[in-house]
Symmetry: C2
Subunit: 152 residues, 2 copies
């Protein structure tokens, strides 16, 4: 007979990052800011997010340190949203997810927006900054043992 | 006076991918499978996900084509979860998010698990597969005009 064990979750940044980025509309809001769209009405227009939910999400993203809200006019006071360094660096995540999504979750692959790097089509690839090589899944190992339940 | 416009959301794989990956526990379940953890009880142990929610999430991920559920014993019948090609290719997304999270959302950066690529520390970097160069945010452009609201 097997005894249920109390879970012992892996300490992992994926979990923590997804608490911020996994919230509905968070990633598409970050996409808009990354594409240079800074104003609330434009983000609504480009995402279709409900205004109240988007406002709450932008507040959460600000609290998480991914963006700042700045006044760009005084009378009437109007705000725009500007990425922090952490927000700017989400660029890699956004393009990696977009590329994966283009290849694996689209029903209409012929309708995918292309992106360009300098003068050619941009095809994202994960490399290792230390050696410069393309990274294969089985060439990466964890610095700690895989966290296995003793009963499993 | 400004007139509210009906949103016209950008067609984008980030949105579609996040409908799958943004669901709570989805990305950490994919993390476990990518790390070679295939059985339900082990995924519960390593994530802390409630069993009923995890079961529903694994079903959604199967329906989305990211994994397959396979029987590995007959009596009693027991199942394990195996990544599809789309699931295997999420590897890049997982490591890109992990790296971003390690740098930007952890309260305890000294406690971050290190990963190794071959014999050295693995530091993910986004490059372009076409030219092999490291990609900077402002060197990527969209193949379509940025989608701006006319009133914004």
């Amino acid at each position: 007979m097997r005894t249920a064990r109390i879970p012992d979750p892996r300490v992992c940044s994926i979990d923590e990052a997804m608490r911020i980025l996994g919230e509905k509309w968070a990633m598409v809001a970050m996409r808009e800011l990354t594409f240079g769209v800074h104003r609330f009405d434009e983000i609504v227009f480009n995402t279709g997010a409900p205004r109240d939910i988007l406002a709450a999400r932008l507040r959460s993203l600000e609290e998480a340190g991914l963006l700042e809200k700045r006044a760009y006019t005084e009378r009437p006071v109007r705000y725009e949203y500007v990425l922090s360094q952490a927000g700017l660096e989400l660029f890699n995540v956004l393009h990696t997810i977009r590329d994966w999504g283009d290849r694996h979750v689209r029903d209409d692959p012929e309708n995918v927006t292309k992106f360009f790097h300098d003068d050619h089509e941009f095809r994202p690839e994960l490399t290792c900054a230390v050696c410069g090589k393309i990274v294969q899944r089985d060439s990466v190992t964890s610095g700690r043992d895989l966290h296995r339940s003793e009963i499993a």
